[in-house]
């Protein structure tokens, strides 16, 4: 076949060879390339333009609720964007401050120019990582390896000029560029992003290989000139002081707290609604049926679905020196002159100048159920996918997949087992499991509500969950970060042990810290860790009352804060531990990846076989999350796993997840945990946590 170009002897002899080749320089591509290089693979990053590496194509912000969790996790794996954000932000704010640390959303407005500059600096200075400007048109393929699923394997890429590059693994992170189409009003032209060419040859190659392709849409708002906006009547939102950094490595962010910029809030009026309603016939993007995100809707769809009300518009700065304002909430695809009318109907924007119109993008994505949890495709060996091409939306979702794909592409080259983050270990695990098990019909965004073990998977403990594994199994974490995480973990364990061993009677505690309203019906004695659970208590209060041995714990501010959080969630985390272990046991029961569900000799209905075949679950755990799979089918599959025990044995030994589960911290050190958790529920016996349904 035409795309099998590996046979050309002349090309093969002259072609350069890399461990990992990454196509695409967006958030997924940069993280993937850097992670592969950190892991020790000679890596090549191919992008249309080096100048657009680190481009933030849409909103000038990173993080948020759920997304902040992802950022923390990819930082714990030594990913780039957390660190780069700490050097590029102009407005840092922790969302959900009053709702509890498990759902805090670290977020920042980012200076676009600085981010790009800092990201390019990182990428261009990463050892083992080379960057070339080129487009990828085709893949080099050869016979598949016998021990893996897949009908062929990739051995390299063919560039736009016809030259070839050989690679041990290839990662595609083409974002919205696969048959990308930009829409403004009734106009439509091929582009991945306004002004950039789409990838069509590659889209054809993937389709020829038999990948199932779907189509999604997204959009971006117009941009406004800051000096034409009247901020005087608008609601101001100031940044946090002090700002909280994203990275576990950053002591502080680069900007002085007082130099941070503010955001402003304004609202649409009924006039805007009128303009949109009157001109629906001029709006192709809205009329099309392609699925867009439910949660990041265009102003048009907001007005249509929730009529006759004001809709929020946040005016966000794009940079310290930039004159551009990003009106979040105003994504539109109307013809530009009508967009201007809508803009001028909004308070504060009456005289605003539109620098660039909003537009919609429609693009191809690949059904992510065609991927393993390592993000390697099941169809073509050694070919990995990450980012929007897998049906996600958002920088953080893309970057998180990039890190995982980069790590696994590198491990694959080194012949090592894949690095899988379980749903019980991280948001990134939930993200990838949801995608690869259930697929998606709209751009997938991270929400905390998707996460079963939200109390355990917190922004504060991402390092405790992932850094050790990243260092030991993936080799993608620097020695410095590893040491730091180890130190913190040891300090936390010691701190918790110290707090638990410090026991006084309730009346003594009430004397020592009268500001904490300790219930007199609680069982005596209570440990300092129990007392720390009270909302009014913190390490400072405790240390004032009992300077020895608590004084030194309270002095280390970060440790003190983390101890307080551990105390707050101890009950919940310990109780969820059992459920977590249940999920993990099911995840350890792996199904062979090349299983032919229509042929296997197990008592399964045709409907169940079809579901299993299209979802291709990798573990019994994943099977149980597919809607409509019966307990009987699960047991029949279990039997199958057992019959094929020999074959799955070596696979089963691979993932080492769970060693660093947050709950383990308590169970190993503290013997009295059960009593404590029972005691905390003073009035009635503790209800048991229900395990996930069979």
């Amino acid at each position: 076949p035409g795309h099998r170009r590996a046979g050309s002897a002349a090309g093969a002899a002259a072609a350069p060879r890399y461990g990992v080749v990454v196509t695409g320089g967006g958030h997924a591509g940069t993280e993937a390339a850097a992670a592969a290089a950190r892991g020790g693979a000679r890596t090549l990053l191919l992008t249309h333009k080096i100048g657009t590496i680190g481009e933030m194509s849409c909103n000038p912000s990173f993080g948020g609720i759920g997304k902040g969790h992802l950022l923390r996790e990819l930082d714990a794996l030594d990913g780039l964007c957390g660190r780069v954000c700490d050097r590029s932000g102009v407005h840092y704010k922790v969302l959900n401050r009053c709702k509890g640390p498990a759902v805090w959303g670290l977020r920042a407005q980012i200076d676009r120019g600085r981010y790009k500059e800092n990201m390019q600096k990182e990428i261009l200075n990463t050892p083992l990582l080379t960057v070339h400007e080129a487009s990828v048109e085709d893949l080099l393929l050869t016979e598949p390896e016998p021990d893996h699923p897949g009908k062929c394997q990739v051995t390299g890429v063919v560039l736009g000029d016809g030259s070839t590059i050989h690679a041990g693994s290839v990662i595609l992170t083409t974002g919205t560029f696969l048959r990308g189409m930009v829409l403004i009003g009734l106009e439509m032209h091929p582009a991945g992003r306004l002004g950039d060419q789409p990838a069509i040859g590659l889209a054809q190659t993937l389709e020829k290989l038999g990948f199932t392709v779907g189509r999604l849409k997204t959009g971006t708002p117009p941009r406004l000139a800051k000096d034409t906006i009247d901020f005087s009547g608008l609601e101001e939102r100031a940044a946090d002081n002090p700002p909280v950094p994203f990275s576990f490595l950053s002591e502080a962010v680069w900007i002085k707290p007082e130099d941070q910029l503010s955001c402003y809030l304004t609202r649409t009026t009924l006039k805007a609604q009128q303009i949109i309603r009157d001109n629906l016939h001029l709006n192709n993007h809205i009329r099309e049926t392609t699925r867009g995100p439910r949660y990041c809707p265009s102003l048009e769809s907001k007005v249509l679905r929730f009529p006759n009300r004001e809709h929020q518009v946040w005016l966000e700065p794009e940079g310290l020196e930039s004159n551009v304002i990003y009106p979040q909430g105003m994504s539109m695809t109307l013809p530009p002159e009508l967009q201007e009318q809508v803009i001028k109907s909004i308070p504060g924007l009456e005289k605003a100048k539109m620098l660039q119109p909003g537009y919609g993008v429609q693009y191809d994505f690949l059904d992510p159920r065609q991927l393993a949890a390592s993000l390697e495709s099941r169809l073509v060996q050694r070919l990995f996918f990450a980012g929007q091409i897998n049906g996600t939306t958002g920088y953080e979702e893309a970057a998180a997949q990039g890190v995982i794909a980069g790590i696994n592409a590198c491990l694959r080259v080194h012949g090592k087992p894949p690095f899988i983050v379980s749903r019980t270990e991280g948001y990134v695990g939930v993200l990838i499991d949801d995608l690869t098990t259930l697929g998606t019909s709209e751009p997938y965004r991270m929400f905390t509500s998707r996460v079963e073990f939200r109390m355990s998977l917190r922004p504060d403990n991402a390092d405790a969950r992932l850094t050790h594994r990243g260092f030991e199994e993936a080799g993608c974490v620097s020695q410095q970060r590893y040491e730091q995480a180890r130190k913190m973990r040891a300090a936390l364990e010691d701190g918790i042990a110290t707090l638990k061993s410090l026991q006084f009677s309730i009346s003594r505690w009430s004397q020592l810290i009268p500001e904490v309203p300790i219930s007199s019906s609680r069982r005596s004695p209570a440990s300092a860790f129990d007392i720390l659970q009270y909302p009014e208590a913190n390490m400072e209060v405790l240390a004032r009352a009992v300077p020895e041995p608590l004084g030194k714990l309270a002095q280390w501010r970060e440790l003190a804060e983390r101890l307080k959080i551990e105390a707050t969630y101890e009950w919940c985390v310990v109780n969820q531990q059992q459920e977590i272990e249940e999920v993990r046991r099911d995840e350890a029961l792996r199904l062979p990846e090349d299983l032919d569900y229509f042929a296997i000799d197990a008592s399964l209905s045709a409907e169940v076989r079809e579901k299993l075949d299209s979802n291709r679950p990798q573990t019994i755990g994943a099977v149980s999350r597919i809607p409509g799979i019966t307990p009987a089918a699960i047991v029949n599959l279990l039997r199958f796993v057992k019959t094929n025990h020999q074959k799955t044995e070596k696979l089963k030994a691979l993932p080492q997840t769970g060693k660093y589960l947050p709950g383990k911290m308590y169970s190993e050190k503290a013997t009295s945990q059960r009593q404590i958790s029972a005691e905390f529920s003073e009035e009635e016996p503790e209800s048991t946590f229900v395990k996930t349904p069979l």
Binding site: A102, P535, C572, R639, P685
Partner: protein
């Protein structure tokens, strides 16, 4: 009274200590037949088995492993005696599941069984087993060999199917509608709270959403609490295997009912479509409880009253544990394949069935071919020729019926109302407890409060069905205009 309270508090603490000493949860279920059987066996598996046995027998020492011992069984919460029965202690790994197991052989009456189940459910760390859970645990510990596991899927399918039918029956009535309403209320409250967590600051999810959730949760908690305290427990469910007589009009279904209950319970006439509503009688066949329903003949009726009757008949069929399919012997194909097809068009798939070929007295030449087809069985279900008029074939039918009932009653889950009721009240109790805790956590940490709602939702989901993250997101995007 005070003494009793003190005793019960002490008992609870003791039970708590006993059961929480080990890790992992412990499951329990009735593992014998139901109904008026002499002895019911209740089995537990998991680390809490030891504590459960100690609490229920009120003795710290366990009987020697794998040896039956006679014990007084009491409710540890109230110290109330429940029964005197035999108990067995199977320390792991030498047990059915490989875990610590205990068995309580108690008197089979529904009151005793549900009393013991309720007492077990109140122990910390114990919960009712899910379908197939005992076998799954055994599987995990390598306690089932492959031949044993072979039939496992089918077994669990049968269990699940029985539970589905049972759930369907309960969801029909008042009680079902009540549970369904609670489920919707709770799911919406959870979705709104999740929306408040995931969106409020950037978007239009207002503070007042939260106070609405608070009020909803408070009201729901009170309502469930009141329901649990209500001794009547809603509808009374009648025990027994639910058998439905079904078939085309005028084949003698009502005559069969009257014959079986030996009284004219249903009106019979030569006019097709006489029976409009469902007629129900309780019988005892071979010692097994049986609730027999006569239904309207299945045909495309034009009369609205008959249409309703046919639709009720079809509802009953879907919920049936056993179907007595009646056909006119003189009007059916005589070869098995044709008979099977006639039957297949009548029945929901996978329901146990007995084929009754009525009006045998009208057959010319004794109906030799039909008799052969009935005797051969496969692919037909157990079948018999019968004449309701002469009574010929009745003994054979009763024999078949008793055999089917024995099989069905051996299935511990088929239609046992006491078991279902105690399951329901356990889950509702846990749900209400989680809702109560929501109120307390609300002031401390919204994440923890949401966790309580999720837990409450999961408990209720054990009765009304699982609700996933996508369902919650659907409500969020339906009710709020969120996004950038």
């Amino acid at each position: 009274m005070a003494l009793r309270r003190a005793l019960s508090a002490a008992g609870r603490r003791w039970a708590q200590r006993l059961c929480s000493a080990a890790r992992g949860d412990t499951i329990f279920a009735v593992s014998s037949g139901h109904g008026r059987c002499g002895v019911a066996v209740i089995r537990t598996s998991g680390p809490g088995s030891r504590g459960a046995l100690q609490s229920l027998t009120g003795r710290p020492e366990l009987p020697p492993p794998r040896i039956l011992a006679l014990r007084r069984i009491r409710d540890p919460a109230t110290a109330e005696p429940l029964d005197r029965g035999l108990v067995v202690w199977f320390p792991g790994p030498r047990s059915f599941t490989g875990e610590d197991c205990a068995e309580l052989h108690v008197h089979g009456g529904p009151a005793v069984v549900s009393g013991v189940l309720r007492a077990l459910g109140r122990l910390p760390g114990l919960r009712p087993a899910e379908p197939g859970e005992f076998t799954r645990r055994a599987f995990r510990r390598g306690k089932l060999d492959l031949t044993a596991a072979e039939g496992l899927g089918d077994l669990i399918r049968a269990e699940t199917e029985a539970q589905r039918r049972q759930a369907l029956r309960q969801m029909e009535g008042e009680l079902g509608r009540l549970y369904q309403r609670w489920s919707e209320t709770l799911t919406q409250a959870l979705a709104h709270l999740e929306a408040y967590i995931d969106f409020s600051e950037d978007d239009n999810v207002e503070e007042e959403v939260l106070s609405q959730v608070d009020a909803t949760v408070r009201a729901l908690e009170q309502e469930i609490g009141a329901h649990l305290r209500d001794g009547r427990r809603g509808e009374l469910l009648r025990g027994g295997v639910r058998a439905v007589i079904a078939g085309p009009p005028n084949v003698g279904k009502s005559s069969l009912l009257n014959l079986l209950c030996q009284r004219p319970a249903a009106i019979v006439s030569p006019v097709a479509g006489t029976t409009r509503d469902v007629v129900e009688v309780a019988l005892n066949v071979g010692g097994y409880p049986l609730v027999l329903s006569d239904t309207a003949g299945l045909r495309d009726a034009t009369d609205p009253v008959e249409q309703e009757g046919v639709s009720r008949a079809r509802d009953r069929l879907r919920q049936a544990d056993l179907v007595l399919a009646v056909l006119d012997a003189a009007a059916v194909p005589t070869e098995p394949a044709g008979l099977g097809a006639a039957l297949g068009s009548l029945l929901p798939p996978a329901t146990p069935c007995i084929l009754v070929l009525n009006k045998a007295d009208l057959l010319r030449g004794g109906g030799g071919a039909l008799r052969d087809a009935c005797a051969r069985g496969d692919p037909l279900p157990p079948a018999t020729l019968l004449s309701c008029k002469t009574g010929e074939g009745l003994n054979h039918l009763l024999e078949l019926l008793a055999r089917q009932l024995a099989r069905l009653c051996g299935d511990p889950l088929a239609g046992s109302p006491s078991l279902t009721q105690s399951r329901h009240s356990l889950h509702l109790g846990d749900c209400a407890a989680a809702l109560a805790r929501y109120g307390r956590e609300r002031r401390r940490d919204l994440g923890l409060a949401a966790e309580r709602l999720r837990l409450a939702r999961r408990h209720l989901g054990r009765i009304t069905g699982h609700v996933g993250a996508e369902d919650v997101l659907d409500i969020i995007f339906r009710d709020f205009c969120v996004g950038k």
